[in-house]
């Protein structure tokens, strides 16, 4: 293996990449667009949920209860006026997510110490938010009861809750470091796959083989080129992301640096592997977009906790580098424990990257030995 050849291959690749204007533009524009859309539009926690309150009592006490429901920014009155059935009128068309029905005699019965049931109808379509709605209506009701001294005995144990790392519960702190992982996986691998398969499509790979460069030198040259491209994408994305979402490195930056480099290398190798293995560009791009996108987005713990992935899929998820990089990225930007917390994740990316290198080298080698048909134009 000769370093000169690797560097020459790398230079050739970068020159070629620079000449393709459309791909060059997309290489930087697409990651940024993805970052902005994901960073701004993915919010899991629902605030200002529209609900309908039907008050059959119309007493000062029921009005106070209604006010208490709308006192926080959790709920807002749904744009629905009029009597009749709130389910058909407001929940069916999606104007409201829940209806709270205060019975007549609400005030009279409460003052007499008799039980009163407030009926709450929740739209269960979005199961997660349905639970949140139930919990907060129950919470507000209990608070109202305690406040109006309907309950004689306050609960004996109180919790002093503190949120660590993210006391303001800013969701961008959770989403944005995850977006880095998704973006830095998909786009470098996509570019590498396209470059690899283009060479096969146009038949230029035969010329490369004829030139006497070894499979390992070819692979390393190409990987190095796209690693450099990926690194500049990473700098742009993380730089702008930090500015826009106000995220900065809170810990020792070395795990992030080492982790990002290894992660990008794994992404590029993954792209090259798919490029070598697929018959044409279409298949390569589809492979990357389907396998890479789905796994980085869904099996990495980017949106919902990893522990929620059921068994057969959770085994697959252990093989996905994005999952380990998300831990590194969240640690560097939010948690801040440094090497002590993430050394295993860095190691896992290294191992997976080495496996990808081996697999790509083998596929490339078997191609070179004249596995005919597949490589031809």
């Amino acid at each position: 293996m000769r370093r000169v050849r690797i560097l020459a291959q790398c230079r050739k690749e970068l020159l070629q990449f620079r000449r393709d204007r459309l791909t060059l533009g997309l290489a930087f524009l697409l990651p940024l667009l993805t970052l902005l859309i994901f960073g701004f539009a993915i919010r899991l926690e629902t605030k200002v949920i529209p609900i309908v309150v039907q008050d059959f009592d119309r007493s000062p006490l029921s009005a106070a209860y209604t006010d208490r429901l709308f006192a926080t920014d959790q709920f807002r009155p749904a744009p629905w006026r009029g009597g009749g059935d709130p389910v058909a009128g407001a929940i069916d068309p999606g104007l409201a997510r829940a209806a709270v029905i205060i019975p007549s005699e609400f005030s009279r019965r409460l003052k007499a110490g008799q039980p009163v049931e407030v009926q709450v109808l929740v739209d269960g379509t979005d199961a997660n938010n349905a639970r949140v709605i139930r919990n907060s209506i129950q919470g507000i009701t209990a608070f109202f009861g305690a406040d109006k001294e309907l309950i004689r005995e306050p609960p004996p144990v109180r919790a002093l809750t503190r949120l660590w790392f993210n006391p303001g519960r800013k969701e961008s702190l959770y989403i944005v470091p995850g977006v880095y992982a998704v973006v830095l996986w998909i786009f470098p691998s996509l570019l590498a796959a396209i470059a690899m398969v283009k060479e096969k499509d146009k038949g230029t790979i035969l010329q490369v083989y004829a030139s006497g460069i070894s499979a390992a030198e070819l692979l390393l040259g190409k990987a190095l080129a796209f690693l450099l491209v990926g690194a500049s994408v990473a700098v742009v994305v993380m730089g702008l992301g930090g500015q826009i979402f106000q995220l900065s490195v809170v810990a020792d930056p070395t795990p992030l640096l080492v982790g990002t480099t290894l992660y990008l290398a794994a992404a590029v190798l993954f792209g090259l592997l798919l490029g070598v293995r697929s018959a044409n560009q279409n298949a390569a791009v589809q492979g990357v977009s389907l396998v890479g996108f789905l796994s980085a987005l869904l099996l990495s713990g980017f949106i919902y906790p990893l522990s929620n992935i059921p068994p057969p899929l959770s085994l697959v998820s252990a093989l996905i580098p994005a999952r380990y990089f998300i831990v590194i990225s969240r640690d560097a930007f939010v948690r801040g424990t440094g090497w002590a917390g993430v050394w295993l994740d860095v190691l896992m990316i290294l191992v997976l990257g080495a496996l990808l290198y081996g697999a790509t080298l083998r596929s490339l080698g078997s191609l070179q030995l004249g596995d005919g048909g597949e490589g031809g134009p």
Partner: protein
């Protein structure tokens, strides 16, 4: 009967028919296209359906119990009773607990003070400290809500039932009483999958013809441009309807998602939505020169469409700007229709705004992209 036969004879002799037959034969021979129509949608539906699960449960809880009395142990078991928390470790000190939370080994921590029992016995309210890892803001919020709820009901020395407040809430969940989360995601993913596949397939087939120059050959025949395009689009619609059925069937068989509304209405509106996807695809084909560019630009268009559609994250929780933007997104309306017809079992009386939006968008998009495409051909 004779009129019908006459009509049939005229149709089968027509150019459009000949073109249609050519396209169908071409598609049937294209193994890759058939694979593309079956494998990615199935995989996507299955993985999305199984992997997207927002439930908060089995959060790893570390307990530092300085009191070590019956009441404190009761508190721990009350917190872990319904599997939202899992008592994962009992560190000896707060410092040890903090270290484990920092490393991500624990998601939550509970510190019970030494004077816990004394204060309870005196009838005062005892205070415990709860730490929650706030990195996942959504789960942290839900977890803290659960803790409050459990403590509100908690009474030590369970002989006495918790005092009942006269004010009670009776909560019922409409449409999805078991709160199965896949019921929310599957209709969204069906919309997502159909958008991706319709856009890709139509763009790829058109660009391929443009690329290889066979489209010019077709143009030299006496067939009109609209006949050529119609003959291309119709078989695609039929094939993609097959995908709609496949997706609905998977939803039904694998995830047991009900279809409570009118199935015919669902299929009709899905057909209408396919024209949106195909329209976007033809538009892409007018912009791109090679299949590779199609794939890259398809990302560019479908990604924002999917993200602002409410397929994964609910629309209500997006910033106002994105909520307004999503009104222009046909996928958002289609997903609302899917959820309405599958889960809620409502009809047009509730869904007409969304149906109307599709009815406006689909022909408009088709008209623009077809006229652009024809402009490029002549």
């Amino acid at each position: 009967m004779r009129a019908l036969r006459h009509w049939w004879r005229r149709l089968s002799a027509s150019r459009l028919w000949a073109l249609l037959r050519k396209e169908v034969e071409q598609i049937l021979r294209d193994r890759q296209l058939i694979k593309l129509l079956i494998i990615p949608p199935t995989l996507q539906l299955l993985i999305y359906g199984f992997a997207l699960n927002p439930e908060v449960h089995n959060l790893r809880l570390g307990v530092v119990d300085y009191a070590q009395v019956a009441a404190s142990r009761e508190l721990v078991s009350a917190l872990t009773a319904n599997r939202i928390f899992l008592a994962a470790s009992y560190p000896s000190s707060e410092r040890e607990l903090a270290r484990q939370v920092e490393r991500g080994e624990l998601t939550a921590g509970l510190v019970i003070p030494p004077n816990f029992n004394r204060r309870l016995a005196a009838g005062d309210s005892a205070e415990v400290q709860v730490f929650i890892d706030g990195v996942d803001a959504n789960s942290a919020g839900i977890a803290s809500g659960y803790i409050q709820q459990i403590l509100r009901r908690f009474r030590p020395q369970t002989g006495a039932p918790p005092p009942t407040s006269p004010l009670r809430t009776q909560v019922s969940f409409l449409y999805n009483p078991g709160l199965t989360s896949s019921w929310f995601f599957v209709p969204g993913v069906i919309g997502l999958v159909l958008t991706l596949i319709a856009t890709l397939v139509s763009a790829v087939t058109l660009v391929r013809e443009k690329d290889t120059g066979t489209l010019e050959q077709l143009l030299m025949t006496p067939a009109a441009a609209w006949e050529i395009l119609l003959a291309k689009i119709l078989p695609l619609v039929v094939l993609l309807m097959g995908d709609v059925l496949l997706a609905l069937l998977l939803g039904r068989l694998v995830f047991a998602v009900p279809i409570r509304g009118n199935l015919l209405l669902l299929l009709a509106l899905s057909g209408l939505y396919l024209f949106v996807g195909i329209g976007v695809g033809i538009m892409l084909a007018t912009v791109c020169r090679s299949q590779q560019q199609v794939m890259l630009t398809a990302f560019f268009i479908t990604l924002p469409m999917v993200q602002t559609s409410g397929a994964i994250a609910p629309i209500e929780s997006m910033p106002t700007f994105f909520q307004l933007l999503s009104l222009l997104n046909p996928l958002r309306h289609y997903i609302a229709i899917l959820r309405g017809l599958m889960l809620k079992g409502v009809g047009l009386e509730a869904l007409w705004p969304h149906a109307l939006a599709l009815l406006v968008m689909a022909p408009l998009l088709m008209a623009i992209s077809v006229s652009r495409f024809r402009g490029q051909l002549s």
